[in-house]
């Protein structure tokens, strides 16, 4: 839906909002059109995006901002078209390998100078690596979120269970849940990526972050025994009947009601799942969160925390305004605001921002900053190149449906690895 915020007066309001060093550049009067394409199409993110545009517009009354919000799934296939055909001035995308094809084709602008001038190298230091390809920095992050296990606290209580910390506890818990006639985990793998999340965690817990990164970079054969060990752990859960039946027919949203209805006890998901859980009627007392349990004590814990980003396409017309917008988005103040519980409900990227005191955000922030010494991964389909991610996730789904297919699945993935890297 396109909403055009042609800004009115509101100069006074703008003056009060203007503060902080990050806005230095934006003091210069901006004019003309600023075209933004965004994939923040779910209700809460949409409101956040529209809110940001409105506030930025109030700061720059002469700037005409055109915001186009495109369905998040559709956006993924459409970005390659509009980057060439009608590039906006600012576009959403993801960090890591997902931006590689566009960077290689020169469709994203290198904004390392903006990072220097705007002091982003300090305030956003933790995410700089994920935005860097070669010598260039090709965008800014605006949010990230933890992954982990969201579970029905009330069901755990009813069964007398505690959040598991080790694999043995995990298995014991799961058995108890199954015995009570429920599934341990709901999951919908129709669109594949949810299975990628499971693989990320099992592999990072079984073999560690560095191994996981080497694997997604194509440096390790999929037929390696260590990879098999990961799948063996996975199979243990599958064989118990831990996962929702018929998961291959559901999207992640369609799998959610099973947890809400109490037919499944937990969900390995990103923090974005909390909002729909609350909407569906679960109270915060019913929802709990725990870090994916340890499998091998000698392996340091590592986490998935996908980062969403803004970029300036090479074809941008109003680069000046686009740069100012990126600084605005990443400023400490805006970061605190948009990532709060009434906004995205995620984690701010700016180190000077404060994390909302929402139960799950605090837990996630603590986990990522203190309890993830191994490293922080983006997500399977962002760490692995696109084609490899596709095949691999099809393989994960095949395996989850029928674990006896493991050998043929691994052979397929190994063939794909040799072809795609």
């Amino acid at each position: 839906m396109r909403s055009i915020f042609t800004t009115g007066a509101a100069a006074l309001a703008a003056a009060t909002i203007l503060s902080g060093s990050a806005f230095a550049e934006s003091h210069a009067a901006l004019s003309g059109d600023l075209v933004i394409f965004s994939d923040m199409s779910n209700p809460a993110p949409r409101a956040v995006m529209e809110g940001m545009v409105e506030r930025f517009g109030e700061m720059h009354p002469d700037l005409n901002i055109e915001l186009t919000i495109i369905d998040r799934e559709a956006y993924k296939t459409q970005i390659r078209n509009f980057l060439q055909a009608n590039p906006p001035d600012v576009a959403n995308w993801y960090a890591g390998n997902r931006m590689l094809p566009y960077v290689e084709a020169g469709l994203f602008t290198d904004i390392s100078d903006l990072w220097e001038e705007g002091g982003l190298t300090e305030t956003l230091a933790s995410t700089q690596a994920s935005m860097t390809i070669g010598d260039g920095i090709y965008g800014v992050p605006y949010t990230y979120y933890q992954w982990g296990v969201y579970y029905r606290e009330d069901i755990f209580e009813e069964l007398g269970l505690e959040a598991p910390e080790t694999w043995d506890e995990e298995i014991a818990n799961c058995q108890a849940i199954i015995d009570s006639g429920r599934f341990c985990y709901t999951i919908g793998t129709k669109f594949l990526w949810t299975a990628g999340g499971w693989f990320d965690y099992l592999n990072m817990r079984t073999n560690g972050y560095d191994f996981h990164m080497a694997l997604t970079n194509g440096e390790i054969p999929w037929t390696d025994d260590r990879v098999r060990a990961t799948f063996a752990n996975w199979q243990q859960l599958i064989d118990m009947g831990a996962f929702l039946e018929n998961h291959q027919t559901y999207s992640w949203q369609e799998a959610l009601p099973f947890m809400v209805n109490g037919e499944a006890a937990a969900y390995l998901m990103g923090n974005f799942a909390v909002a729909p859980m609350r909407e569906a009627g679960l109270t915060d007392d019913q929802i709990g969160f725990y870090q994916f349990p340890q499998i091998d004590p000698s392996i340091e814990m590592a986490e998935d925390a996908p980062t969403d980003t803004f970029h300036i396409p090479s074809g941008a017309n109003n680069v000046e305004a686009a740069r100012a917008f990126l600084l605005f988005v990443t400023s400490a103040e805006n970061q605190t605001l948009i990532n709060g519980g009434d906004g995205l409900g995620q984690l701010p990227v700016n180190s000077q921002s404060s994390v909302d005191d929402d139960e799950f955000l605090s837990a996630g922030f603590e986990m990522l900053s203190q309890n993830s010494p191994g490293g922080i991964a983006q997500f399977f389909d962002r760490d692995a190149p696109a084609e490899m991610a596709q095949v691999a996730m099809q393989g994960f789904q095949t395996f989850m449906v029928d674990p006896s297919s493991l050998d043929s699945v691994l052979d397929r993935l190994e063939q794909a690895r040799q072809r795609f890297y």
Partner: protein
């Protein structure tokens, strides 16, 4: 008449037939009836597992109202109209001319050109996909309705030419010959002699193309992206993404998306079937 007319058969078979008809029809339309059923239920029925029972309350109006007010659906429908109508006009206009040229004149290459149109009509879309997408991008028409319209006109010309040419072939030639002897120019023969005779073909073709284009999904996905230009077939997937797992709304949305071609069919049934069976091939 085959099979034997029911009036001439035994009483029992007559009765059986009369009862069989509605039963068969209900079975045939079952999947569709199920969706209609869903579309009048409240959302709560789906969370409580009451899928097939009576609706706990009648929410038909509310559901359909929401489809029109809570989403981009009206826009998608409008886009479909603005894509379909110009395509029908364009394809029919072009093919009246090509059909006339190929049906009336004898010249070298006539059959070759005709066969080219026919063959083009059978081509799998996929072989056109990548280049047509690039072409549309290069012309700056990506994600515009006009970009989609231009392609549809071009592609439908193949089928329409086949249809029109065969129709013109079957017209009495004497009319044209007589006009020529009178010294009427070729353009005027086309306009005043042949075109009026083609009215039934034009009507049939128009209805047919309307349905084909309205129901196109593939090209809508390849050539458009935003609610500004996407027709309802592509829009329904975004609509479903917005209301994921809310079956009552998705059902209502699907029904709304299906209605225009169905209405067209019932209104223009005679032409539609004439078109399907005369032109023969899609």
């Amino acid at each position: 008449m085959f099979p034997t007319p029911i009036a001439k058969t035994s009483r029992t078979w007559q009765l059986t037939y009369q009862t069989l008809l509605p039963v068969a029809m209900v079975l045939w339309l079952l999947p569709l009836l199920a969706v209609m059923w869903f579309s009048i239920k409240p959302g709560a029925d789906f969370t409580t597992g009451n899928y097939w029972g009576l609706p706990s309350s009648f929410e038909g109006f509310a559901n359909y109202f929401l489809v029109f007010t809570g989403s981009d659906m009206p826009r998608y429908l409008w886009n479909s109209v603005m894509i379909t109508v110009p395509t029908v006009a364009g394809a029919v206009a072009l093919s009246c001319m090509t059909g006339f040229a190929l049906g009336v004149y004898r010249f070298k290459g006539n059959l070759l050109i005709f066969f080219m149109f026919v063959a083009g009509n059978f081509v799998p879309f996929q072989i056109l996909m990548v280049p047509v997408r690039d072409l549309t991008l290069d012309m700056g028409l990506y994600d515009t309705r006009i970009g989609l319209v231009l392609f549809h006109i071009a592609f439908q010309t193949g089928f329409c030419t086949l249809f029109m040419r065969n129709f013109i072939r079957a017209l009495p030639r004497e009319l044209i010959e007589a006009a020529r002897v009178e010294g009427v120019s070729e353009w005027r023969i086309f306009w005043y002699v042949v075109l009026p005779l083609m009215r039934p073909a034009i009507a049939a073709l128009a209805v047919l193309i309307f349905t084909f284009i309205w129901n196109d999904y593939f090209w809508a996905v390849v050539l458009t992206q935003s609610p500004e230009s996407q027709p309802v077939t592509a829009g329904i997937t975004s609509f479903n993404a917005q209301y994921r797992a809310m079956y009552h709304l998705m059902s209502a949305g699907s029904i709304v998306a299906a209605i225009p071609p169905v209405a067209m069919f019932f209104a223009m049934q005679k032409h539609f079937i004439a078109g399907l069976t005369l032109g023969a091939v899609k």
